[in-house]
Symmetry: C2
Subunit: 429 residues, 2 copies
């Protein structure tokens, strides 16, 4: 019986696993470097958890099922709801600020395409309990810090920053009812992802007034807060919310400058994010060329804990998937096939005669017990073949039992880098 893997999933053979580890190890290192602690939740949760506040797009993409106890469950499509649940459960015991990271495996039942698979890994960092945009700056800084550590410069990537609060203030001042905002955000989020005509049509369905629709588009295309039209500025500033958002964005950009990553950051009101739970700063990091999906995205969610039955404690966070990142790194020549070794052992033990096998096994075991990564040939076979095996395993040394061992209990130690050989006494081990 021949069985295939499921479309949109990946088989991590050792070379691809090495790439996955390279990415995940970098995420973990950047998290620790910036003071985040690791957490994780279960791979499945109650289905209703994702129906609370994630937005329709994610709910449509759930792999859900009913277990024998008639529980309605779903494989996690994101970890933020789990984070909100976990933090709420221990909110009084956890010292604040809560700075947590995770590298969850996530699944979404969407059509596989470039940079989007049905199963992927995502780096998440969150800071909970800090109202100040300094926390947003920390999240954006940490994301850039990681990407910079891979060799991506401010010419390669840009963090595009805006604010849901700014957008909300603007839309409400344009006369759009507050209750309609959650429906409009996912549409605006599509602006840069769809052809203009398709986007216009989608927008017209929710905003029938043409001048309003045009003002929204004009707003989203501005790139500089100091160069915005008087009309738009007036609309923004015509509310405490808009004024507050503008001040927050200015402080945020100033903080990122102080942190030394100002050249990576731009204000871009075209950034909306699709998820329903954002309330403040939102951002996405894109490749500067801009033909890929966002490398990462995130923002502030001031009501999420409350929506999940907890107290009104605010948070801000970021998610970065592995798929787009891997494509970007390969495009930039920062990740090449075979660049990362699947195995790097210290010693490979070879032997030219089956009667030497037992001694070879004993020597290999002694090296392993000393903590040295050691592999051994399972057959005597030709020495050439065994040396090739040693080389494939990335062995630093090949230890050979041959006639010198039979005659004098001496081992040949071959340096696999230089090719140099020396004879040593077997009782050294």
């Amino acid at each position: 019986m021949k069985i295939q893997s499921v479309k949109g999933t990946r088989d991590f053979y050792p070379p691809l696993m090495a790439v996955r580890n390279f990415i995940a190890d970098g995420w973990k290192e950047a998290s620790r470097r910036n003071g985040f602690e690791e957490y994780d939740g279960p791979i499945f949760e109650y289905l209703k958890m994702y129906q609370v506040k994630s937005g329709d797009e994610i709910v449509e993409q759930l792999f859900n099922f009913t277990d024998r106890g008639q529980r309605h469950l779903a494989i996690r499509p994101e970890i933020t709801p789990t984070l909100a649940r976990m933090v709420n459960q221990q909110i009084n015991a956890l010292p604040r600020p809560i700075k947590w990271f995770s590298v969850p495996r996530l699944c979404r039942a969407e059509r596989p395409q470039k940079g989007r698979l049905r199963e992927f890994f995502q780096w998440n960092i969150d800071i909970i309990g800090v109202d100040d945009v300094l926390a947003d700056a920390e999240v954006i800084y940490t994301s850039i810090d990681y990407l910079r550590s891979l060799g991506l410069t401010s010419r390669d990537i840009k963090a595009k920053i805006s604010s849901r609060k700014l957008l909300a203030g603007f839309l409400i001042n344009l006369g759009i009812p507050e209750g309609q905002l959650d429906t409009i955000y996912p549409i605006l989020d599509k602006k840069t992802k769809l052809p203009e005509a398709v986007f216009d049509e989608m927008l017209a369905k929710v905003i029938s007034h043409k001048r309003t629709a045009a003002a929204i588009k004009e707003f989203m295309e501005f790139k500089d807060l100091s160069n915005i039209s008087d009309y738009l500025l007036e609309v923004i500033r015509n509310s405490d919310e808009g004024t507050e958002a503008e001040e927050e964005l200015e402080r945020l950009l100033d903080l990122l400058e102080t942190m030394g990553v100002g050249d990576y950051c731009v204000f871009d009101p075209g950034i909306v994010r699709g998820l329903a739970y954002y309330t403040g700063v939102v951002f996405e990091i894109h490749d500067a060329v801009g033909d890929l999906r966002a490398v990462c995205g995130g923002g502030r969610y001031d009501n999420l804990l409350k929506d999940f039955g907890g107290p009104a404690v605010s948070g801000t966070g970021m998610g970065m998937g592995d798929c787009v990142l891997e494509i970007l790194l390969r495009e930039k020549g920062l990740l090449k096939d075979g660049q990362i070794a699947t195995l790097q052992i210290d010693n490979f033990v070879a032997y030219t005669d089956m009667e030497l096998q037992k001694d070879a096994i004993s020597i290999a075991a002694k090296l392993r017990e000393k903590g040295e990564a050691t592999d051994i040939s399972y057959k005597s076979g030709s020495l050439k073949k065994q040396l090739k095996q040693a080389s494939n395993a990335g062995a630093k040394k090949c230890i050979i039992l041959s006639k010198e061992f039979i005659e004098d209990k001496k081992l040949i130690v071959k340096d696999m880098g230089t090719g140099e050989q020396e004879l040593i006494n077997a009782d050294t081990f």
Copy 2:
């Protein structure tokens, strides 16, 4: 809305995550030390994949679902079928022996109880393409090597070793039809896990002949191949299979002795394993007291690749879950609450006045850019409180901006271990 986690799953808050990482990192290290390369597969596969050869127990425990494309899928309850699928797909390209390991997240819809959860992590190591029991010895050695590295001695744990081939030869010679064996194995596997009367009743349902049932029980209770009754020995040796299995077991125990772990190993024909795919050596490692479930188990599967549509290439492997292991380590005092730090940073940056915040942020960013793990207070607040935060984060040093900075651009560097303080020039950074 208050939502709970699903019964039988775990929330990995940072202290528990640190324990999970401690276990998984040790697994990865032991794998590399013994020459295994890492692989992984998807979290879900086609349901039918688990119906091929896993045995009824696992199939009953599947979390399965149907996706929008009407595919019947299941969350993986084990990774061995995925391994067989992946190896088959690239069998001609992969150099042999294939020595692979994985640390998959697995889910089984069973009733949660001590050492058994519905979601867990399992270390898997497999050697494919080596018929010799030397490969079985390597697998058992690697399992012991890991457990030994944690501080578990041969007085704490025992690897109990037997052979499906030996058992099959014995049962067939007793007159049991070969086609019935797959039904009998999971029952025999329960012998040590159930009260004797319950086991006898289960056995009687498949073996009606009382003397045969008694002979099976007698066989399973022998502990020494050299001390087995003449009658049983005759039954074993009355087939090539039985004789071969006996020789293999003798060579296996001898190899383990050569590897220096003989004192951890015992022959125990009571070991059967529940899964249907084992064909040769089978083993389990138990705590010596024996009141826990097996810490790990595995064995040889000579037909699995073929059953999955591939060539007749044999394999042998082991799986070790994290739940029983964690209980054992805690019982032995080898793992204590708070023993593993959730965070260990190099520097914590504190400041006594909000006007110093920007300088503090700049210094923290410079330290991070140098690769030093650094966290920073998000408020000026009391120095005592900030020092507590530094201590909670496991900081080695606390860098304090206070009046010395305002007056002379000097920083206080406090060694968090010794408590010693020194003044340095801020432009050092």
